[in-house]
């Protein structure tokens, strides 16, 4: 079972890696707006589709 010395740290590393990525994402504002992204996906690809998202910065 010594493999657990390997697998447990790796599993924890992955877990904390994801936790870290979440915190980074959240603090970077990735999850501030939970409405617009869902709608923005639906805009056609070939127009200036960024307008809605842009408002956040103005």
């Amino acid at each position: 079972m010594s493999i657990l010395f390997l697998l447990l740290p790796v599993a924890l590393l992955l877990g904390f890696g994801f936790l870290f990525a979440f915190i980074w994402g959240a603090s970077g504002g990735q999850f501030d707006d939970l409405e617009t992204p869902a709608h923005r996906v639906l805009l056609p690809d070939s127009t200036e589709e960024f307008k809605t998202g842009e408002k956040r910065h103005v």
Partner: protein, 714 residues
């Protein structure tokens, strides 16, 4: 105003050729995977379809089928979807067209290598990780190229917010890299043969940590990412709850990684590890169903369109099958349910509910939606697509139901004990004959599914043919990344470090770990693994070679070597398996399915001649058996020369062979083979038997369980 003025208007285009390439590969290999599946399903219904050829037996084709389905069909499908959606979600072309193409051709080369090596019997012998070490290395390299290209694309994105699908892709890329690297650390014996550094229980734990997460991070997370992009697009509705999708992602990736040991319930794996795996597996139902519900409710207000549009039909059914499979998974992970379901066809039914119903249907939905878009035309026939849906649906249901019935029937027969405490069906073959009719039903289900797939192929070909000939390169214009920090998008070097610290940290950690493990693992692990059980002798050279033949022929696809501590198992096979018994097993061969009986204690149960006749023609000694015959083992000569090398690699991994053992390995093996052959010849076997591969195989089979029987293990 001051902030928006920073954003410049830019014109760019998407690389849709790479999407087309991956999509075509998906369809080609989908046909291959399904054809193979139907073929091996028929082999189980009628053993004669093994064709008496070594390259076409079930044991060699089953790994080819699973690899084709998971890595060629689903794999290419994922890549097609990722390349299409990522470019649009990030509003940029992929970082490098060249890297995209290296990824594409590298991946197809891996598939081609698998298609050649697996029928030849070149295999590691661990499920879904069968590809031998040179190919495993190419996988590592190609995956890193894909990941690098993807993360560089993230850096140059024009859309600051990363849509939830992107998170799923990131999770996939990072985790698959780690899983694959850790599970394929093996020491080569020759160019096409290697031994894993882990043995026995260790190997089992790593393998199923990998194996289950192959399901999680190849067949689940990327598909959920695709679902979160393509379903809202197809329905023209925003995802039901973006908040839920975020919670769904983070909880899913965190919990999945722990669930592997549910493949090892009631085995020699320590109890606490089994319980840990069980608990996390049961917890998985929450995020899984969260995802399903989020997908289904996205269609609120659009249900009327499901009636007309095949794309939405496939999505709805796919999500429902996902919900069923992710209910069934936690259920089967409960120890008492596993006691019934493990080793039976129930598991096969469960897996195909996911593979056919979820992965297949999602790829079909994506294909029907993408093909007209990519080739700028209309789908050739909506009616044909609807027909595909119903035929595929019927095929999947027939498959699942027949395997449920077969699995539960056989599981109940195995455990049936009469009032006096004896097994009601002591003869294993009885329980097989009972379910053979269901194998025909399963084959019918698979054939229907394949037939539906052919309709898809026709539809796609006709659609592409109707596409306008002259294609003008379509450009997109939009604003550059708008942000309050101008230097972020000014193309300065530190943008790279600033852009993705979390992801890059994880990736660089992975990179560091890879090197560390390859350098340290063999010595570190061999020290840790040094067998300390007194009196437990390693395999002789001949037995070890025979074991490699056992692995080569894929015996583990139908036979387990793990007797669980359950009354009806110990009555049938002997005392339950101990962890120490597989301490020299590289790879472990505990198996996951019993189409034939367990072999953990088969040694000395039958005379050598029985095995000789059985391998020549199983039905001669076991009437009703569905096992293929192995005539080539009586023709092929044993490679005695390589045995010494095998022993020396094992010795370097800590197996207690002396230098003399290694040096004299060839002579010892020949002597041992001659002794077995002499006895067989005196009983009427072919006089040239001593040289043939059947001898090492018999010597291995006769060794199984002997340590326990001779009292070396308490």
């Amino acid at each position: 105003m001051s902030e928006t003025s920073v954003a410049r208007k830019e014109t760019y285009s998407y690389d849709d050729d790479i999407v087309k390439m991956f999509l075509i590969a998906t369809l080609v290999f989908g046909a291959v995977a399904l054809l193979l599946g139907v073929f091996i399903a028929l082999q189980l219904a009628n053993w004669k379809l093994n064709l008496g050829l070594q390259w076409t037996t079930f044991g060699r084709l089953r790994p080819l089928h699973t690899n084709a389905a998971i890595f060629a069909f689903a794999g290419n499908g994922i890549f097609a979807g990722i390349y299409y959606s990522s470019q649009r979600l990030l509003r940029t072309r992929m970082y490098s067209d060249l890297l995209s193409r290296i990824h594409f051709w590298g991946w197809q080369a891996i598939i081609a290598a698998a298609a050649i090596t697996l029928p030849l019997g070149l295999t590691v012998g661990k499920e879904y990780a069968e590809l031998e070490w040179p190919i495993a290395w190419v996988i590592n390299i190609v995956w890193v190229i894909f990941g690098f290209n993807f993360f560089k694309t993230l850096q140059i994105r024009r859309e600051r917010h990363m849509y939830v699908a992107i998170w799923f892709y990131i999770g996939t890329i990072v985790t698959v890299a780690l899983l694959h690297v850790l599970n394929t650390i093996q020491i080569p014996v020759s160019f096409w043969k290697s031994y894993p550094v882990y043995s026995g229980v260790q190997d089992a734990l790593v393998q199923w940590w990998y194996g289950h997460n192959a399901v999680a991070f190849v067949l689940t997370t990327p598909f959920l990412g695709l679902m979160y992009y393509f379903l809202p697009k197809a329905a023209d509705k925003p995802v039901y709850s973006y908040r839920l999708s975020i919670v769904h992602f983070w909880s899913l990736v965190f919990i999945y990684i722990w669930a592997g040991p549910h493949h090892l319930l009631y085995t020699a794996l320590p109890d606490w590890a089994q319980t840990l795996g069980m608990v996390f597996s049961v917890m998985l139902i929450a995020p899984s169903w969260g995802g399903m519900i989020n997908g289904l409710l996205t269609l609120r207000g659009a249900w009327d369109r499901v009636r007309q549009e095949p794309v939405l039909k496939f999505f709805v059914a796919g999500l429902t099958f996902y919900g069923m499979a992710t209910f069934e998974g936690p259920l089967l992970s409960i120890k008492s349910v596993s006691a019934l379901g493990h080793y039976t066809d129930w598991i096969i039914g469960h897996v195909h509910g996911g593979a056919l119903g979820w992965n297949g249907f999602l790829i079909f939905a994506m294909t029907y939606w993408l093909v007209p878009k990519l080739w700028k035309t209309e789908l050739f026939s909506v009616r044909m697509a609807n027909a595909h849906f119903w035929i595929g649906f019927l095929g999947t249901v027939l498959y699942m139901v027949s395997m449920w019935v077969a699995g539960i029937t056989q599981g109940l027969m195995w455990r049936a004990v009469d009032a006096s405490g004896r097994l009601v069906y002591p003869d294993f073959v009885e329980t097989v004959i009972k379910i053979v009719p269901l194998y025909w039903v399963r084959a019918l289900g698979g054939t229907l599914y394949l037939f539906g797939f052919v309709l898809l192929l026709i539809n796609v070909v006709k659609t592409v043919r109707s596409a306008p000939k002259s294609e003008k390169r379509e450009t997109v214009s939009g604003l550059g990344l708008a942000d309050s920090k101008p230097e972020v998008y000014a193309g300065k070097p530190h943008r790279m470090l600033e852009g993705l610290p979390g992801v890059f940290t994880v990736l660089s950690l992975v990179a560091v770990l890879v090197g560390t493990f390859f350098e340290l693992a063999p010595t570190f692990l061999s020290g840790e693994f040094a067998p300390t059980v007194v009196g437990l002798k390693p395999y002789t050279g001949l037995q070890l070679h025979g074991r490699d033949i056992y692995v080569r022929e894929g015996c583990y696809t139908c036979h387990s070597q793990m007797i669980r501590p359950l009354v009806w198992e110990t009555k049938r096979y002997g005392d339950y398996s101990r962890a120490e018994e597989s301490i020299y097993d590289r790879p472990f061969q505990w198996g996951s399915k019993r189409t034939g009986p367990d072999l953990a204690r088969v040694g000395s149960k039958y005379p050598d001649l029985w095995h000789y006749r059985h391998m020549m023609d199983p039905r001669e000694v076991a009437p009703g058996s569905i096992m293929p015959a192995y005539p080539w083992l009586f023709k092929g000569k044993t490679d005695f020369e390589i045995i010494s090398k095998k022993l020396s690699v094992m010795k370097s991994l800590g197996v207690p062979y002396s230098d003399a053992d290694v040096e004299n390995a060839e002579a010892d093996a020949r002597r041992e083979a001659q002794a077995i052959a002499d006895k067989l010849i005196s009983e009427g076997a072919d006089p040239k038997t001593a040289e043939k591969e059947i001898i090492p195989l018999i010597s291995y089979l006769q060794r199984l369980g002997q340590d326990y029987k001779k009292g070396a293990i308490k």
